[in-house]
Structure formats: C-alpha cells, structure tokens
C-alpha cells in the first residue's frame, strides 16, 4: 500500500470527491506525448507488418493502443484508497485521460501531415501519415483517434473499478492473445519438435499473427483460466509462500527444484533448435549475471568493466585451442574428459583470477562512483588491447581468432551449432554457478560482503579485512565471467574484439538490477526477461521484431523499475524489506508533516 503526496493532500471526505483534474491532465498529456514519441521513433511503421490478429491488429498499432488504457488506469488509480468513492470518477478520469491523449495525438498527426519533417525526423514522413490516417484524410483520422483513445481510456478507468475477477479475466485474455501472437516463432518451433505442426498451422494466419478465430479461442480459454485464479497478485502469493510453515515451504522448494531439473534435462529434447539456442544464450548471461551479482549485489562494488573478464576467458580459450593461434598445441581442445581439456579449463581459471587481481588491486581502494568510472576504463582497455596492432600477432587484432574447435565430452563432440548439446553444457555450468553463489551467500565471506556493502568503515572496525573481501568478490566474479567466455568461444567458434564492448557490461548490470540485486533467482529472471524475450546485444530474443528498439526498451524498463520496483522482479528478501521499510518511514514522515500543517492552519 503506497501513499503518494497527492493522496495526503486530498481532503478525505465522505462525499464522492471530484475528479483530480490535474492528475488527469498530466497523464492525458503524457499519454499523447508517449504515443507521438513512439510514432516518431518509427516503431509503428517498423512493426506494422507484424500482425497480432490478422488482418486487423498489427504490433505497430499495439505499441500505441496500450497507452490510453494503461494511462487511463493510472489516472484513475488515485481513488482506490479513499473509501466509498470508487465509481463514476474513475470512469470519468479514464475517459478524459484517453480523450486528452487522443486529442494530443490527433494534433500530432495534423502537424506531420501539414509539414514535411523528414529532414529532421526521418520517420515523420508521408508513410507514417498514410498509416495513421488509414488513407481516409486527416480530419476523419483525427476524429477516429480521439474517439478510440477516449474509449480505450474509458476501458482503463472501468477496469480500475471492475471486480477483481473480471480484471484478472480480461488481463489474462489480453496478455495471452498478445503473448501467443508474439511467440509465433517459438510456438511453431515447439510444435515441430512435438510433431504437432497442425496446431501452429491452425493458430497462426499465413501472413503471421493469430487468425480471428484462434484469437477468440485463446482469449476465451485464458479468461476461463483467469476465472479459476482467485485474482491474487504475484506479490501476495509470494508473501503467502514466505509465511508458510518452514517444513512445508522446504518441501515445496524441493518439488520445485526437482521439477526444474527435470525440465532442464528433458525440455531441450522437445524444443527445436531455435529455442534451444535462445535458452543457451540466456544461460550464458545467467552465468555472467551470477558473477556480477556477487560483485555488485553482494559486495556492493559497482563494476562497469565486467566484460573484460568475459573477454579474457574467451581469448584464453581461443588462443589455446585455435590452430590459427601461435600458442596452439596440436590436440588441445576443450574436451571435458581429456587432460588437454582440463588444462584449458585450469588456464582459463588462472587467467581469470590474474585478471581479477590485476583489475581489482588498483581499484579496490576506490569507492562508489570512482570505482565505477575506473572499472569502466579497465573494461575498455582490455578490449582495446585485444584490438591493438601491438598484440595482433597473438590475438589477431580486429580479425580476432577464428577456427576455435568445438568442445567435447569424451568421444561426444559439443558443436557450437548443435544448440541442444550447447544448452546442456551451459546448463551444467549454470547449475554449478548457482550452487557456488548460493553457498557463498550464506558463508562467512558472504556476511563480510553484506557488512561491507552496508558500511565499509564500520566493517573495517569489526576486523573485516575489507581489501581481501573486495578482492575475493572481484576474483570470483572474474572466474564466473571467464568460464562464460570460455563457453562463448567454443560456441561461436570465432572471437573478435567487437564482441566485448562496454554495452555487454551494461546489459549484464541491467540484468542484475532488473532481476533484483543480490538475488540468485532474480538474476535468472532478469536474464530470461532481457535476453530471452528482448535479446542480447547480438543474440536474438523471442521478440525479434523489437531488435532495433531493444536498447530503448532496456532504458525504459530500467527507469520504470527504478521508480516503481527498485528491488527488482524477484528481489532478495533482505533488500525488499529494506526498500519497503524506507518507503514506509518516508510516508510516515509525510503524514506527520501534513498533519502538522493542518494543525497549524486550524
């Protein structure tokens, strides 16, 4: 339950209070601005070919149409806390917000129709106008947009006061229609694996998207499913779980773990190549995320040059095993059941430790922002070294190192192109990494890290060797990334400096933040959401269409997360409590202030 400043200011009276016009105005204009922005960056035009429901609704239009609904809900939300007034004003708030957004957007259409702005904004050309006016002239289109946005806003406001059951039904229906439509590739891939292609053929229209009939069936089916649930939110369910009897919870956890392990073993056999490859990429990022989570989440050291360790692992593997490298010894491959393979792993481990110590030692005395800047520099230096002409005889400069042989397990070859085998390999490493990270969290070192993150000086006064603790975190993080690099090298078969850009460090950091700092399940969820759904820097995600807007969405997601859910999607229990305590004490303070103000007035 969160209180906002406005709520406290609003007079609490028993009569239905009037609509909060300033809020409606704000969200209405914001909605119009957001819609114009999305149209201006070219999302609508780019995604118009991608159909959700063939032939009526494209993804391009969907990127606009969700706005009046959601902003309508937000504008109407305020009344929820005040008793006895839910009703007309929610609906009115939603409607007016939607109308305002529509008005604003219609104005935007009129402008881009009247002036050719393509010199400045490449997307604001006739093509967009044509699309947004449905070829019926600006006047009609503007009216259509205002009306439909108003209706969508009305829908949002109505949803707000609708009974929980209805909301969860509509939500489930909408989500699953959009979800199934977006997951077309993966669903087709899975049905092919299961040899039930006809299901996919029925669901999807020839030119992509759901057919109206399948959309109806899916919506109805998931609405029924929504009917079954009691409408409780995920957070409530989590809380419920946390309050369970420890023994029951333990048993549930064991069941969940066994199911997960079984799924990891058997799913790849069912899934198609595409899906397996996607999951393998997600696994690679989980591995790196777990490592960075120790550095940033546990020890509180903001490392922006984490990609350096990934690069070191990848280059070490490539240099040792590629026949094109001057250090190549015949017979050396990453075969996990051979002496040479063990040697490769050991050398990767040693190099990662050395890199961790080399980067860690000079920066360990720095704190906060300074640490972040310096590590950022180190990350770039490592990439530039690999790129340099000076070291080109060893690392190939911009040409990188190619022909890295595949990994193996005894006689079995783990080809980079065989996504199934790759998935198992990465899953094994991720499993080991999860275990290590989990054990570390509960260890003495883990407690030292927590204290360090909280208050470095006090931790030192307690006798914690802060330098050693920080260096340990750095080195363990480096080892995780080094192994991820090793797998990356055998997976893609060729290594170039351009694979190790700053962006990669940032994306791993975003995974950790979005998932929930310091939380192991959080890292997994973060990697699944960001890499699996949106895609990595070079890896395809489920929503390939969003590829060119990926970074924009990352940014938006990060901002929204920081504002609304700073503890992450699956927070560390400790951190969630922290943030909510802060929130509550902050609100308490505000309440006190406002009550004092009132006292002063009277």
């Amino acid at each position: 339950m969160t209180h906002t400043l406005e709520q406290i200011d609003a007079p609490a009276s028993s009569t239905p209070s009037p609509v909060d016009w300033s809020k409606v105005q704000k969200w209405g204009v914001l909605g119009g601005l957001t819609m114009s922005f999305i149209a201006a960056i070219g999302m609508v035009t780019a995604l118009d070919q991608r159909l959700i429901i063939s032939p009526w609704l494209s993804l391009g239009f969907l990127t606009l149409l969700w706005i009046p609904v959601v902003f309508g809900i937000i504008a109407a939300t305020e009344d929820a806390e005040t008793p006895g007034v839910a009703g007309d004003r929610d609906v009115i708030s939603g409607l007016v917000t939607g109308l305002l957004s529509g008005l604003f957007f219609a104005f935007f259409i009129v402008i881009i129709d009247a002036f050719d702005l393509t010199d400045i904004f490449r997307n604001l050309g006739p093509k967009l106008v044509e699309l947004l006016t449905f070829g019926r002239g600006v006047g009609v289109a503007a009216a259509l947009w205002i009306i439909s946005c108003g209706l969508l806003g009305l829908l949002g406001g109505t949803l707000k006061i609708a009974p929980r059951m209805a909301r969860s039904m509509i939500g489930a229906a909408a989500m699953s229609v959009v979800g199934v439509a977006l997951l077309e590739i993966i669903v087709t891939d899975i049905t092919q694996g299961l040899r039930i292609e006809f299901v996919a053929d029925w669901i999807y229209a020839l030119n992509g998207g759901l057919t109206p009939a399948s959309a109806l069936v899916i919506a109805a089916g998931s609405a029924l499913f929504g009917l079954r649930s009691d409408g409780s939110t995920l957070a409530e369910r989590r809380l419920e779980r946390m309050n369970l009897d420890p023994e029951v919870r333990f048993r549930k956890n064991v069941v969940a773990a066994v199911l997960t392990i079984l799924a990891v073993i058997f799913l790849p056999m069912i899934l198609g190549g595409l899906t397996n490859d996607l999951l393998a990429n997600v696994g690679l990022f989980i591995l790196m995320g777990l490592g960075l989570n120790i550095v940033v989440g546990s020890a509180g050291l903001l490392d922006l040059g984490y990609v350096a360790f990934f690069a070191v692992g990848a280059y070490t593997t490539a240099v040792l095993t590629s026949p094109l490298s001057p250090f190549y010894t015949p017979g050396w491959t990453l075969n996990f059941l051979s002496l040479e393979g063990a040697a490769v792993i050991t050398i990767v481990l040693i190099m990662a430790v050395i890199a961790g110590v080399l980067v860690g030692t000079p920066v360990i005395r720095l704190r906060g922002d300074y640490l972040a800047i310096v590590t950022l520099g180190f990350g770039e230096i490592v990439r530039i070294l690999f790129l340099s002409d000076w070291l080109a005889p060893y690392f190939g400069g911009a040409q990188g190192i190619t022909n890295v042989p595949s990994a193996g397990l005894g006689p079995v070859e783990i080809r980079g192109t065989s996504s199934q085998a790759m998935f198992y390999l990465i899953a094994a490493f991720v499993g080991a990494a999860i275990y290590v990270a989990w054990r570390l969290q509960a260890s003495r070192t883990g407690r030292a890290w927590t204290a360090l993150r909280e208050d470095e000086d006090a931790a030192e006064a307690m006798g914690i060797n802060t330098t050693a603790a920080k260096l340990t975190a750095f080195v363990i993080g480096a080892i995780f990334a080094g192994f991820a690099g090793m797998i990356f090298a055998v997976k893609v078969g060729s290594i170039f400096p351009s694979s190790f850009k700053l962006l990669l460090s940032i994306i791993i950091l975003v995974i950790v933040i979005v998932g929930g700092m310091g939380s192991i399940p959080g890292v997994i969820i973060g990697a699944v959401v960001l890499i699996g759904i949106l895609g990595g820097p070079t890896q395809q995600g489920l929503l390939q269409e969003f590829g060119q807007f990926k970074l924009l969405i990352y940014g938006a997601l990060l901002v929204v997360m920081m504002l609304k859910r700073p503890e992450g999607l699956w927070p560390n229990v400790r951190r969630q409590r922290e943030l909510h305590q802060d929130e509550m004490s902050q609100d308490a303070w505000l309440m006190e202030e406002s009550s004092q103000d009132k006292d002063g007035d009277s």
Partner: protein
Amino acid sequence: MHDRTPVLEFRGINVHYGLVHVLKDLNLTIYPGELVCLLGGNASGKTTTLKTILGMVQPSSGDVLIDGDIVTGDSTTQIVSRGVTMVPENRRLFNRMTVRENLNIGAYLRTDRDALEADMEHIFEMFPRVKERLNQKAGTLSGGEQQMVAVGRALMAKPRVLLMDEPSMGLAPVLVQQNFDIIEQINNDGVTVFMVEQNANMALSIADRGYVLLTGSIVLEDTASNLLANEDLRKAYLGEVE
C-alpha cells in the same frame, strides 16, 4: 601502582592528514582494567587517536603498543584479533541487517564459534531490549536501542580493550546516564575502556583517569577527580559558565 605492562601505549605518535598535522607527539599509557577518557573540543584529534589505535590511520612517526608489542603498521584485522574493539561514533550499525546479524558480525574474527550463543545470552542479560529486537532491522531501532546494539556488537568480539567514540552523542539525557552505567559495568567486568567524550563531567565521574587533548597535543593528564577539580579545565572544556 602500575607495575604491569600497559595494555595500550602511544609513544610519540604523529599523524598527518596530507599537510595537516593532526596528532602532535602524542604519548598515552593505559593499564589493564582502567577506564580512561580522552577529553577535548571539536577537531582536537580525538577520533583520529582511536583510529590510530585500530590501524585505520597510520601514524607518520611514533609507535603504537598493545601489551608491550609494537603494532604500528599492523592491519585493523590484526589489531582487532588482539582484542581491541571499537564502538564507532554515531554507532554505525549495519542498518539494513537485523540486530542478530549485527551481533554476529561483531564476532567476525572469533574462532570459538561454539561460545557465541552463550555470549549473546550475556548481552541479552545486560540489554533485555536487544533480545526483543533480535530479528528487527538495526536501522529501525531508537537511538538508545541502537547504542545498546552497538555496544553489544563490540562485546561480541570479546574485547580486552573497548574503544568508545562519543558514546553519549545523540542520546536523550535520561539515556546518557544509563549508558555511562553500562560502560562502568563493562569496565567492572574486567574490560579496559578508553573513551572519547565531549560530555566531560559525566565521563570523568566514572573514569579513573583522563587526558585532555587540544589541537592534537595532550595538555593535561591526571586522575579523574583531580581533573574534575581543575578550575582551568572546568572553564575551558567543561563548558562551565560563572
């Protein structure tokens, strides 16, 4: 009277922060079982003195001795494991950790893990309130409770020497007295206490001896009762107005 080895000793300590000469040729001697307080105004070098003992600040010259051994240049970890612990200024609890976790961090360097539970019980006897708050975040406690946890956390290290930096700072007057009673009790249990305090009257009323620090130099050193009786000191440092 003191024929024993001093548990803590400063021999001609000089500390510089860059160009600023913070401690000037400081000599201190503290014997086992004593309760000594270090008085002085703002920026006189009191906290630096404690940090120098713990090795968090390195002197530019001079020696720190613990039990007669020179420990100058040793790390904080080494000094804490010799049985010297500090209750830092403003308590500096790990606010987002629970009270229990705070107490456990206090015992971080101890190897006799089995004895921890018993020691925790001892702290609960001293501060029953701490036991009630065991699973609460330290940051949500009141100032007085935080002080209890800070002292408890330091005691979990089983110190022979307890350094206290402004223990009464930020406490309500009624708690200040209680706090000094606790310090006296800890001292009676055999722990040497070296305390930095601005509240000179209170501090001297429980202390055996006192040092007065003025811009990095010791200007007075005497028994607590003599210091309390000293007219100049009363005027200059005890904030007494005629």
